[in-house]
């Protein structure tokens, strides 16, 4: 019983992290029609930057949450810069844009290896959240529950932003029909930069708050990117609800798979994706066919 309960908590936690990662991925895909292959890199860069803030290598040690927010801002600026300086040059050429994000992801991975070395870096759970909460006979780690809370807060905030603000309305218009949005006077190319920065920032933030659970190592980007891909294929592109449900599903499959059939966990993860592709190519909640 305890085993299953813990596994469930872990699954939901991982799902929450994946949601922070894939919400941006999904929005970027919905708006710009390209999979941002640097998304895993943004996650990893965030995690690495976080370790630097917490280790005191800069001469000071930041509070965990302050560090996470600062990192998110930095990664958001990085993402926005990449969109402005590289992707903008290739406006309208989706294939070229995808290939550029792929090239940049390799460069980022190698730069991280150069800057932070090849050894995994473990991150301590933030003070005050190292304990456990008793649920019956089981004890659930407090920090994991906190991540679930953060993910829910972000999900609600993003939903409010998309549904209740002017910016959100413009983004939704851009996702639905970019040309028409341009015609009615929305500066879609400016939205690209904003959404790209937002997505990158979310990924970086997820990297920091995920680092106490996952630890930080070279190849983290390659581990996370396919997960984001699967979530978006499952949930459908450009849909916040789709990312949320997809993330939870993937979180469950990944954790249960790893606990029950560790050798095939990675394979099982992709089965629902294959099913969705065959039965419902637009994803569970997506409007447009992939």
């Amino acid at each position: 019983m305890t085993f299953w309960l813990l596994l469930t908590v872990n699954s939901v936690t991982f799902g929450g992290l994946l949601f922070l990662l894939s919400a941006g991925f999904s929005l970027i895909f919905g708006l710009m029609r390209i999979p941002n292959l640097t998304h895993g890199s943004m996650f990893m860069v965030g995690a690495y930057l976080g370790t630097t803030f917490f280790s005191g290598a800069l001469g000071f040690t930041l509070n965990f949450w302050l560090g996470a927010i600062l990192t998110a801002l930095e990664v958001a600026v990085l993402g926005a810069l990449m969109e402005r300086l590289l992707l903008r040059r290739l406006a309208g050429q989706q294939l070229a844009q995808v290939l550029v994000t792929l090239g940049v992801s390799f460069m980022v991975a190698d730069l991280c290896l150069m800057a932070w070395g090849g050894d995994p870096i473990s991150v301590e759970t933030p003070p005050g959240l190292g304990g456990f909460i008793r649920i019956g006979t089981a004890a659930a780690p407090l920090y994991r529950l906190a991540i679930i809370g953060i993910a829910v807060v972000f999900a609600i905030a993003l939903w409010l932003m998309l549904e209740r603000t002017r910016l959100g309305a413009m983004i939704r218009a851009g996702v639905d029909d970019p040309q028409m949005a341009r015609v009615v006077g929305i500066r879609v190319s400016q939205l690209f930069t904003i959404v790209f920065g937002l997505g990158a920032g979310l990924a970086g933030f997820a990297g920091v708050i995920g680092s106490p659970i996952l630890s930080v190592y070279p190849g983290l980007d390659q581990d996370m990117l396919p997960l984001a891909l699967v979530v978006v294929i499952l949930g459908g592109t450009g849909s916040l609800l789709g990312s949320f449900v997809g993330s939870i599903i993937v979180g469950f499959i990944y954790n249960f798979g790893q606990a029950l059939v560790p050798e095939l966990a990675y394979f099982i993860l992709f089965l629902p994706m294959v099913l969705v592709l065959v039965l419902r190519p637009q994803g569970l909640f997506g409007g447009q066919v992939l």
């Binding site: 995808v98 290939l99 550029v100 396919p226 095939l264 992709f270 294959v274």
Partner: protein, 326 residues
């Protein structure tokens, strides 16, 4: 036409002469690498260049064939069985890849092939009882076709060259056949081809199978060349490297992938001798080529030499009328 035949004959003679011209085993091995990666790139180019479908999972298919050979040899089967079985297994996986990914085109096709390639990488990496995980599988011997040992570098080069010439010839025939023309049609005007009565999906599937065949052949050559296979061979950077070969040389040309393979293999080996950061270079070259020379080297050079020729022969400049794109 005659000039072309002479050029081909000269090229083949030059390739045969390589092991005699450069006697050092290290460089002969690099030449073998170029040829086997060129076969891989030719296979990928069928999809990228002629079908207009960019695959980012081809290293998975390449690696499946390699692993099939290595695993069967470890199980005690002979080389003939291992090679034939690897071809069959490679084609079966290709069929699976094609069936799933051809539901889409464009960007979605990239995403699906990427995900499928990552599945194969994940299996190779984590299914330790089958693949020995990160430690990889060793292959101790090379086959001896007709009793000729392939242990030395020049002998293996000759073998690779024979397969390479066959692969180029097969690709040339494929591309110029009615099927190749239909394939280019599905790339440029899929709906019109559909209306004309062509089965677009079937044509793409056939192209994917041919691409998978060349990829499997290259994978088999690779495992015998390298005598070792590890999950690294299936990872995303390997797929990206192959795509870089195709795009840098010039997608949709016969010569492009070969030039691209030579370029990437040479840069990789030369650069690796001086710096450890090959992945950084790979990324940087990728970005540079996509931004500055999206057409690739072969079409780029061909365009430059044509205009140079025209300038030298003093012909009038031909003004090209470009129709506006819809």
């Amino acid at each position: 036409m005659i000039a072309r035949r002479i050029a081909i004959a000269v090229a083949i003679l030059a390739l045969i002469a390589v092991p005699y011209a450069i006697t050092e085993a290290y460089y002969v091995n690099i030449a073998s690498q170029i040829l086997l990666y060129a076969i891989f790139a030719l296979g990928l180019n069928i999809l990228v260049g002629y079908a207009g479908l960019v695959s980012l999972g081809h290293a998975g298919l390449f690696g499946v064939a390699s692993y099939a050979v290595a695993s069967l040899l470890v199980l005690g089967y002979g080389h003939t069985v291992a090679i034939l079985a690897a071809l069959v297994i490679g084609l079966l996986f290709t069929a699976g890849f094609a069936a799933l990914s051809l539901r889409a085109t464009g960007i979605s096709f990239i995403m699906i092939t990427l995900a499928l390639g990552e599945i194969l990488w994940g299996l190779a990496y984590r299914w330790i009882s089958l693949t020995n995980g990160d430690n990889g599988v060793n292959v101790s011997t090379r086959p001896m076709p007709f009793g000729i040992a392939l242990t030395s570098a020049p002998a293996f080069y000759d073998m690779t060259l024979i397969v390479f010439v066959l692969a180029v010839a097969a690709t040339a025939i494929f591309v110029r056949s009615p099927f190749g023309a239909a394939l280019a049609g599905t790339r440029d005007q899929p709906r019109r081809m559909n209306a004309l009565g062509f089965h677009v999906w079937m044509i793409r599937f056939g192209a994917f199978m041919f691409s998978g065949l060349l990829t499997a052949v290259a994978g088999i050559l690779f495992v015998y060349y390298n005598k070792f296979i590890s999950p690294q061979t299936l990872a995303l950077p390997a797929s990206a490297e192959a795509l870089l070969m195709v795009i840098s040389g010039g997608a949709g040309t016969l010569l492009g992938p070969i030039v691209g393979a030579a370029l990437v293999v040479i840069i990789k080996n030369v650069v690796s001798a001086y710096v450890v950061r090959w992945n950084f270079m790979l990324g940087a070259i990728f970005v540079a080529i996509v931004v500055f020379m999206p057409e690739g080297i072969v079409p780029g050079v061909a365009r430059l030499s044509r205009s140079a020729w025209r300038a030298m022969s003093g012909a009038k400049k031909i003004v090209q009328v470009v129709e506006p794109k819809p």
